[in-house]
């Protein structure tokens, strides 16, 4: 085990996979010479050169397409979007091409590709650079969607994503790149996609959180324990699609109360989906309506106070805990 940041854990995963499989390459804007906009690819170009670490023009649709074609032809591209906001330019390739290729080719053409990069808000970067797109991508059959919240998960899941034969949307969070955690150094360390992790056990209330809201939920859980003696269970699905609903349902059957904390907007969100699935699978176990903490229904404002107001935070989660626990 080594303590490292999520950024370095991702870097380690990329490095190990580039070494392990000659078909793995990373491509994106400023991933090579510049060492990555957020330094996730730091040092890789120097170590592996132009063939494996490729700077692209600012041409998201174009290089996403190159990735899809290369994947169809047997390579395992890792496509970095400088932020996922720009993936919207490439949505045609991701949704119309990558997601459908296996199906519409009758199972002939796999597209083993990872689209990765930071998703969600950063620090005061305003409306066009603060979007959380997991619900958007999770809506389409044929894509997997992964959102790690710890350094170990980041490494283990990215390695699994690269080895996966499907297109994987791998959503990081800029605010979290510097978070540290213990990470196994074993090159064979992977975390299977589609398996949730119970980040904290509890009995009174379940919070399903992902990415940035996981540390917030854990803080809220500690505070709720201390202040109201409420025991909160925190579940991180880690993979949004396929979703490990069984772990969530089992938890709700135990606690009877569910809160979903998420960075995306509420309407038609992943939280809405989880809420529905819990309603379907654990209706008779609910003691309170499922509560969601999401980003406000507005484009992200620039002003710091407004940005804070828009985003999920610990007090909002605590308020939800109190509400569902009838405190």
């Amino acid at each position: 085990m080594a303590e490292m940041t999520i950024r370095d854990a991702l870097n380690a995963a990329l490095r190990e996979e580039i070494i392990r499989d000659e078909n793995v390459f990373i491509m994106g804007e400023e991933v090579a010479e510049y060492d990555g906009a957020y330094k996730v690819t730091r040092g890789l170009w120097k170590e592996f050169g132009d063939k494996r670490v490729i700077d692209t023009p600012i041409t998201e649709l174009g290089f996403a397409a190159v990735g899809v074609g290369a994947a169809m032809a047997g390579l395992r591209p890792v496509i970095e979007f400088m932020t996922f906001n720009f993936s919207i330019l490439a949505a045609d390739q991701i949704i119309n091409h990558a997601a459908k290729m296996l199906y519409m080719s009758g199972g002939q053409f796999k597209v083993p590709i990872v689209f990765r990069g930071p998703n969600g808000s950063a620090y005061q970067v305003s409306s066009q650079h603060s979007q959380a797109l997991e619900a958007f991508y999770a809506n389409f059959p044929g894509l997997k969607v992964v959102m790690p919240s710890t350094a170990a998960d980041a490494k283990g899941l990215l390695k699994s994503a690269i080895r996966d034969d499907n297109p994987v949307i791998f959503l990081e969070q800029e605010r979290m790149y510097g978070l540290k955690g213990e990470v196994p150094e074993d090159e064979d360390f992977t975390i299977p996609l589609g398996v949730a992790d119970v980040k904290r056990e509890g009995t009174d209330c379940t919070i399903v959180a992902r990415s940035m809201t996981v540390p917030l939920a854990l803080q809220a859980a500690e505070q709720a324990q201390k202040e109201f003696d409420v025991s909160v269970e925190v579940i991180d699905p880690r993979t949004i699609k396929p979703l490990d609903i069984d772990t969530i349902v089992a938890s709700v059957k135990k606690t009877n109360r569910l809160i979903i904390a998420e960075e995306s907007h509420a309407f038609a969100s992943v939280g809405a989906e989880i809420s529905h699935q819990v309603m379907e699978n654990a209706f008779d176990y609910l003691d309170a309506p499922v509560k969601r903490i999401s980003t406000a229904e507005a484009p992200m404002p620039y002003a710091k106070n407004l940005e804070e107001l828009a985003l999920p935070d610990v007090p909002k989660i605590i308020a939800a805990v109190k509400e569902v626990c009838y405190i």
Binding site: G62, A65, M72, L102, M104, F109, P112, P141
Partner: protein, 385 residues
């Protein structure tokens, strides 16, 4: 790299109309004036005598080309063209009686492009194309049975009834599919060529798309990367002159698509798509450039689609005069005439080929009719690997 225009093109095609010059953007230094005028002319009704004159010129040059080509290959090329024609006519027929659902885009009139270009490839090369893909799929080696059963939505179809008309695929034959989003496959094809280079092969990718796709951003993004990274790809713009129901003239600020290569420092060439030998010749040159120098090429191959955009298109945006003009220069008639002039085949040979194509098509119909519908479980297979 300068844009080049096929020399034969310049010599043989005379434009009947004066160049209005104002908006066509043909100022570029290397693009020939002639090709500009030709571009002007293509969607206009022209005098049929002119067309007949062109035809004679074409036949002369094609006959010369034929003399230097293996007769077996020529026979196969003609067979594929005839099969393509007969097969697509059958598709139109069964579509009208409800055997085929959804969209159905026919290739009638464009056979010389797919056949001329694809039959210049070798083992290990890749092809990717748009939704007008039946004939190219067959040229790639997918059986008429599998293509028609796919159109019927049967389990015996090329992709088990899951893709339909627009999505023929064969990994085994290096056929990376028909794609339904205008221009999407240009980027994917660029990635296929990227992989060929990455794997250090000498293979190349043929990437087909219509002229309307040229207006999509992906065309420009792809050409930029292909030239920047020197990828072994041949972009083939099958200019059938209509993007769905809109003529090129009404949708593109300049007429000469080949000249767009210049913007990326790429070789661009204009080819007459009614002349299968000209297509073959231009493609061979481009393939050589890709294999030996790992450089891309943009070919604008001008053809004409006789049918509507799809089976649901009545084609009211053009005149029968215009269609007739192109039918005067029909690629199959021209090729047969040239083959006969070169004394390679006789009428009996043609009848034989025609018969063979009809039989193959009939077999395909029988197979498609008899093939069962996909099992309901197939709905959920191949969603994820």
């Amino acid at each position: 790299m300068p844009t080049k225009t096929a020399t034969r093109q310049e010599e043989t095609i005379k434009t009947p109309k004066p160049d209005d010059g104002s908006t066509r953007g043909m100022e570029s230094k290397t693009a020939s004036k002639n090709s500009g005028k030709l571009a002007e002319a293509v969607t206009d009704t022209v005098d049929r005598k002119e067309a007949q004159a062109e035809y004679k010129e074409r036949k002369k040059s094609q006959t010369d080309a034929i003399k230097n080509t293996d007769p077996e290959l020529l026979r196969e090329m003609l067979y594929q063209m005839v099969l393509g024609r007969v097969f697509e006519q059958k598709c139109a027929e069964v579509y009208r009686i409800g055997k085929i659902g959804g969209f159905c885009h026919l290739y009638i009139g464009q056979e010389a492009v797919g056949v001329g270009a694809m039959m210049a490839l070798k083992e290990g090369d890749y092809v990717i194309t748009s939704y007008r893909d039946h004939v190219q799929a067959m040229v790639a080696g997918i059986t008429p049975e599998a293509v028609l059963a796919e159109l019927y939505g049967k389990v015996g179809g090329n992709v088990k009834g899951k893709g339909g008309s627009m999505h023929m695929f064969s990994k085994e034959k290096g056929f990376f599919g028909g794609h339904g989003i205008v221009g999407g496959q240009i980027g994917v094809g660029t990635g296929m060529a990227f992989a060929q280079k990455y794997k250090e092969t000498d293979n190349v990718t043929l990437c087909f798309f219509g002229e309307a796709a040229v207006n999509q951003g992906i065309f420009h993004e792809s050409l930029n990367m292909a030239q920047l990274w020197k990828l072994p790809i041949i972009y083939i713009c099958e200019n059938n002159q209509y993007g769905m129901g809109t003529s090129q003239k009404r949708a593109m600020s300049i007429a000469n698509i080949a000249s767009k290569a210049e913007g990326y420092g790429m070789v661009g060439e204009f080819v007459d798509g009614m002349d299968v030998m000209a297509v073959r010749e231009a493609t061979l040159k481009a393939i050589e450039r890709a294999r030996n120098e790992s450089l891309p090429t943009l070919l604008e191959i001008r053809a004409y689609r006789y049918m509507g955009h799809s089976m649901s298109d009545p084609g009211k945006y053009r005149t029968t005069e215009e269609i007739k003009k192109y039918q005067e220069r029909d690629p199959i008639v021209l090729f047969k005439d040239s083959l006969k002039a070169a004394k390679i085949f006789t009428d009996a040979d043609f009848e034989d080929i025609e018969k063979q194509a009809r039989e193959a098509t009939d077999r395909a119909v029988k197979f498609a009719e008899e093939s069962p519908l996909p099992d309901e479980r197939e709905l959920f297979t191949d969603v994820l690997a």
